[in-house]
């Protein structure tokens, strides 16, 4: 803790403050652009850090990191197009609020929840960084695999229409992630002799296609998608009433805790945290029956948790040299540019960096609150742009986003195909989010499962039996998968069980929504 005050002094220097404020503006702007997002935002800022000192460069990169995640949520709320997978769950409740003409209130929930989540994670990590790091380190591959299963199950459980469709979508995502080089043996898979497929399917291209192109196509071709539903909000930013916060305080605390913990686990990220918290809120939230219909509790769950990840992800990245996700991997390269190698040695050679990072992230979250409140009127104006202009522009952005990640023309066509698939999935009411999350978690899902089997001498179930933490996580995953069947008032299994007098036919239990 003796490094805290010097870190504060460093971060409050004029150069660092300029980097902080500039980084937050830039991060929100790029994060809010459909088709761009955190990875592009952080990557594109790297060349600027070449000529900067160590502390301002760390401040700049962290400010862009935190604010771009928040920025991605703005478009998720306003036009149902998340900037990153982290914000995908925000669409579920943010966009329905916009459709009700409450975009200003939705942005208020999103902004404040993001800032609280980010601040909480720093507060927790300042106190508990070392113990949390040791817990994360104790997670072996079986536990990580089980955690991925839990994340996938929780994602599928939040799909309202059908578990079968959610599962099909998730499996499609997992399968797409297997195309290209085998991560363990280097063998080629499903390339069919076509060279561009050897590099695999680009996640960002799929994101652009499914969320941007597919959404535009659906909104344009299906009259009921926009028929009289979309209203333009009159105000820019409205701080949600304190009474409503207090009614949802348990979800806020849970989101902060889950986000901080998930963030600290190597290889995870904001998307996983957001969906686990959303699923938990759907299970036990006070207003769970309204989730998916524009319920602020859903926004608190997703936004507080995905921003709480930012602090958590810094622990394995800085202390262990293990990035939590793609963005922290890019951030690591920013430190390498400055001649600092993240890892155990960094804590002995440059211990102040850890505290500079925490302090910078704290100020970045305060800046997000201020910038978000000041500029949200600008973002709500996105809705006043005539729809034909907006849709055309989104297609152009999607093309740039798909192409820009790898400078590859093939990725443009992948985005186009993904757009068509996304459109058909919307028509058939297949959830699109499990597909994307399946792609994100796919490589880790495969690697951890195969490593677990190898470590347990080829036994498929040995590693489950010998790892109690993995057992608990797998049981929770199965529970999450079965949850929608039991929760649906008209679910087939529930009807059968009701006939057998095991459960009530239509009751939802005593903790149902107070608004009923």
């Amino acid at each position: 803790m003796e490094h805290l005050l010097p870190a504060l002094q460093d971060v409050l220097s004029p150069v660092s403050l300029v980097a902080l404020v500039g980084g937050v503006f830039y991060g929100v702007l790029v994060g809010a652009m459909p088709g761009l997002g955190s990875v592009i935002a952080v990557t594109l800022v790297l060349p600027i850090t070449y000529s900067m000192e160590l502390v301002p460069s760390v401040v700049l990169v962290l400010a862009v990191y935190a604010s771009s995640i928040y920025g991605g949520s703005i478009t998720a709320v306003l036009i149902n197009t998340p900037g990153t997978p982290n914000s995908a769950a925000t669409c579920l409740d943010g966009y329905p609020m916009t459709q009700r003409g409450e975009a200003h209130l939705a942005l208020g929930w999103v902004t404040v929840s993001s800032a609280i989540g980010g601040m909480f994670s720093i507060f927790v990590l300042l106190i508990a960084a070392e113990p949390l790091a040791s817990i994360a380190l104790s997670f072996g591959t079986p536990e990580t695999f089980a955690l991925i299963c839990l994340a996938m199950a929780s994602i599928i459980s939040v799909t309202r229409d059908s578990v079968v469709k959610g599962l099909a979508s998730a499996v499609l995502g997992l399968f797409l992630a297997t195309i290209g080089l085998d991560p363990m043996t280097g063998d080629m898979r499903f390339d069919f002799g076509y060279f561009p497929l050897t590099a695999g399917i680009n996640l960002i291209a799929v994101l652009m296609g499914v969320f941007a192109i597919g959404e535009v196509l659906y909104q344009f071709a299906v009259p009921e998608a926009t028929n009289g539903k979309l209203q333009v909000a009159s105000g820019g930013f409205r701080f949600p009433p304190l009474k409503m916060w207090l009614e949802r305080k348990i979800t806020l605390i849970k989101a902060c805790l889950i986000g901080s913990f998930v963030g600290i686990l190597p290889g995870t990220g904001g998307a996983m945290a957001a969906f686990i918290t959303y699923a938990e809120t759907r299970r036990a939230g006070k207003f769970r029956d309204n989730l998916g219909k524009g319920e602020p509790e859903g926004l608190i769950a997703t936004e507080a948790s995905n921003n709480a990840v930012t602090g958590g992800a810094l622990v394995p990245t800085l202390a262990l040299g293990i990035p939590g996700d793609v963005i922290t991997a890019v951030m690591m390269s920013a430190l390498l540019i400055q001649g600092v190698t993240p890892g155990v040695r960094m804590l002995t050679d440059n211990p102040e960096i850890l505290y500079v990072a925490f302090v910078a992230l704290g100020f970045a979250n305060i800046a997000i609150l201020v910038v978000g409140a000041m500029t949200s009127r600008l973002w709500t104006r996105v809705l006043t742009v005539p729809r034909p202009l907006l849709y055309s522009l989104i297609i152009a952005f999607a093309l740039i986003g798909a192409y820009g990640a790898r400078q590859n023309l093939f990725d443009m066509y992948v985005a186009l195909l993904a757009g068509g698939i996304g459109f058909l999935m919307r028509l058939g009411k297949f959830p699109t989010v499990p597909l994307v999350i399946g792609m994100v978690l796919g490589p880790m899902f495969e690697t951890t499962l195969r490593q677990s089997i190898i470590l347990n001498h080829g036994g498929f179930l040995n590693f489950i039996v010998e790892h109690p933490v993995a057992d608990i996580l797998i049981i929770l995953a199965i529970g999450f998968m079965l949850l929608p069947i039991f929760q649906s008032p008209n679910g087939r299994l529930r009807q059968i069980l009701a006939k057998l007098n095991f459960v009530g036919a239509k009751s939802r239990g005593p903790s149902s929504n107070s608004s009923e």
């Binding site: 594109l44 060349p47 229409d161 079968v164 469709k165 599962l167 099909a168 499996v171 499609l172 997992l174 399968f175 297997t178 085998d182 363990m184 043996t185 063998d187 898979r189 499903f190 192109i213 196509l217 344009f220 071709a221 299906v222 009259p223 009921e224 005539p386 729809r387 034909p388 202009l389 849709y391 055309s392 522009l393 297609i395 152009a396 952005f397 093309l399 740039i400 192409y403 820009g404 400078q407 023309l409 443009m412 066509y413 186009l416 757009g419 068509g420 058909l424 999935m425 028509l427 058939g428 009411k429 899902f445 495969e446 499962l449 195969r450 089997i453 190898i454 080829g458 498929f460 087939r492």
Partner: protein, 151 residues
């Protein structure tokens, strides 16, 4: 269009795709055997495709009562033309480059979608393309496609 019809079409596509891919992954290059289970490149895809096959069968064979009974009205003509314009835009970008293709797309796509006046769309196309080019090429230093025909 009825949602259950889309479900069945999707089930059919999934069934055919998973069957074909299972044949592919059973080929000699993947060499799946019980002995090397766990390290084989075809191990995970095979599991996923098998699950996919089962899900496709469920989607195809489940009784009507369990399928969604809602329907969605789709304007297939508008959908086809818009999709065609988007495909043409993407092909044009790869052939003649980002700037000329985007100017044309951003000028004419809004008009097709019903935006008036025409000159507004033309101004929008020119201004937006210039802004995108300046932001990405000059500010973010992202090299946009130059087009295979123009080098």
């Amino acid at each position: 269009m009825n949602v259950s019809t889309v479900e069945r079409i999707s089930g059919g596509i999934l069934l055919v795709a998973s069957a074909l891919l299972l044949i592919e992954v059973s080929g000699p290059q993947y060499a799946v055997s019980a002995a090397d289970e766990g390290v084989n490149p075809g191990f995970i895809p095979k599991i996923l495709l098998f699950i996919w096959l089962l899900l496709a069968l469920i989607l195809l064979l489940r009784p009507r009562g369990l399928s969604s009974s809602s329907s969605v009205q789709v304007n297939w003509l508008k959908c086809s033309v818009f999709l065609g314009m988007t495909i043409a835009f993407f092909i044009a970008v790869s052939l003649i480059g980002f700037v000329p293709a985007t100017v044309v797309f951003l000028c004419f796509c809004p008009i097709f979608m019903g935006f008036r006046p025409y000159w507004g769309s033309l101004v929008f196309g020119l201004v937006s393309t210039t802004a995108l080019w300046v932001i990405f090429e000059k500010f973010f230093r992202l090299v946009l496609p130059t087009g295979q025909l123009l080098g």
